[in-house]
Amino acid sequence: MDIRLDGISHSYGETEVLRDISLDVASGQIVCLVGPSGCGKSTLLRFLGGLERPTSGRVLQLGVPPEGCLNPLTYVFQDFALLPWRSVRGNISLVLEDHGIRGAKAQEIIADVLARTKLTDFAKALPKQLSGGMKQRVAIARALAVKPAVMLMDEPLSALDSQTRELLMDDLVALWERQPFTAVYVTHNLAEAVRLGHKIVVLSRRPGRIREVVEIAKPLSQRAYADAELEQVQKHLWHLMRDEARAADEELLHV
């Protein structure tokens, strides 16, 4: 299943946040959205999953979601959004219960996603007992449990320290290698973007427009930490963004 953004524009009252965004997200691809703060990248992601409505333009699903898909458009949030009163297993079963999946069938799915995210030993733990990186892995396991057609990831690694971030990036690559998934990945971290993105969409500062789309052909598995080719791309991206980022930063001060 592909996703198409068709002429999305959005304003909050007087403030125009996004202007005429059109973009295709192809199946099996990770598309990264980068841009200076306040450019509306997270807002765009909320449109993609139907949590918010744009002022004009449409979000389209092309084709049907794959068989067994419970929740085609599934988020992974920056703040993890785990229920603190439910164990790791309970948090995953939460999203299955409403689809009538309980008992043995639910246990099977939960065991599978926990194994894929290396959390099998922590099924009974409460979120408060887990580190930030582990919490985000639980959130990823929860997203995988509903077999999404598209994962919508809103700065999923931004709340984590840099070592944990590296580790989780490796995990995400391994997950994708095992079973390619479609994802829209919002981040302000260019290193994450060049590491995980097949396609990197650079947005301008407010009102956000598409400045450039950079494609990286190198397979995810061959992209290593501090790869020279990726550094080059990252430099290019930073070059595109630097002035915008500075202007955006100063703009915020005037508000």
Binding site: T74, F77, A81, W85, V95, E97, P127, V146
Partner: protein
């Protein structure tokens, strides 16, 4: 020379952190009670405190023991506890229901929040004659008074607690396609539980206060009736015996809620 070398002596950094973190001190609470009671006992025995001002703690204890041995304790406690349980259960459960509805629906909020604000400050005791007319002089008016008194604080605590539920968790529920009922049952209610329980603490204390007021009219037995009778006769020992029972009741309900909190809210860090 020696001056400057003295000034260059390494100086240990002065500690200025710490504090502002309550720690558990088990024995302090009971110690305060013991010291206060011992002081009063000493005062009344030595004549420093006149018998008209305060009764001897030992006499109050003797009265309590006698009350227990005569079987009157049970006779007073059973109706009181029944009134407390029925009234508080009624008021708290309806209060929680209304509070949740206010938290969830804007129209209900707009309509009922001002009404609750209007009812809250009314001294419920002042309405007792009215309740007697409405619900009769028997148990009905007593239940109603306690229920009414616990209702308003429960409503306010509950809708505040629902308002404080983390919105990002609700968005998460929506993003996974959870039904409205599931979101309320599995996200809003557990998320509001800490606030609801701490509201319940206050509501139950108010219920105990109102219990005495309810037993002012037409109650033959009950801790409130016992206290009021003792007060009318200026029997300080019995008055204080009754007060001690009420205090213990308060400590017990507060402890019970603490127990529930520890069981239900173990997930809090």
């Amino acid at each position: 020379m020696s001056d400057t070398s003295f000034a260059r002596q390494p100086l240990e950094v002065r500690f200025r952190g710490g504090g502002f973190a309550p720690k558990r001190r088990r024995w302090v609470g009971p110690a305060v009670f013991v010291v206060l009671i011992a002081l009063v006992e000493w005062g009344t025995r030595s004549g420093f405190i006149s018998a008209l001002t305060l009764p001897k703690p030992s006499d109050v204890l003797a009265t309590l023991i006698e009350l227990w041995q005569s079987g009157m304790f049970v006779k007073h406690m059973v109706p009181s506890l029944t009134r407390l349980a029925v009234g508080a259960a009624l008021g708290a459960s309806v209060g929680m229901g209304v509070g949740i509805l206010i938290g969830l629906f804007s129209y209900i909020r707009a309509g009922l929040v001002p009404l609750t604000a209007a009812i809250f400050p009314i001294p419920k005791i002042a309405l007792l004659p009215l309740f007697v007319i409405w619900f009769g002089i028997d148990e009905g008016s007593k239940y109603a008074l306690i229920a009414f008194g616990t209702f308003t604080p429960t409503v306010v605590a509950t809708y505040g607690a629902v308002d404080n539920v983390d919105r990002s968790l609700i968005r998460m529920g929506q993003s996974f396609g959870l039904s409205w009922m599931s979101i309320v049952r599995k996200i809003v209610l557990p998320g509001a539980m800490p606030g609801i329980l701490s509201g319940l603490r206050i509501s139950l204390a108010i219920a105990i206060i109102l219990l005495v007021a309810a037993e002012m009219l037409g109650a033959q037995y009950g801790i409130g009736a016992y206290i009021l009778e003792a007060g009318a006769l200026y029997d300080l020992e019995r008055l204080f015996a009754g007060v001690v029972i009420l205090s213990l009741l308060g400590v017990l309900t507060s402890g019970a809620i603490g127990l529930i909190e520890r069981r239900v809210l173990g997930w809090r860090s």
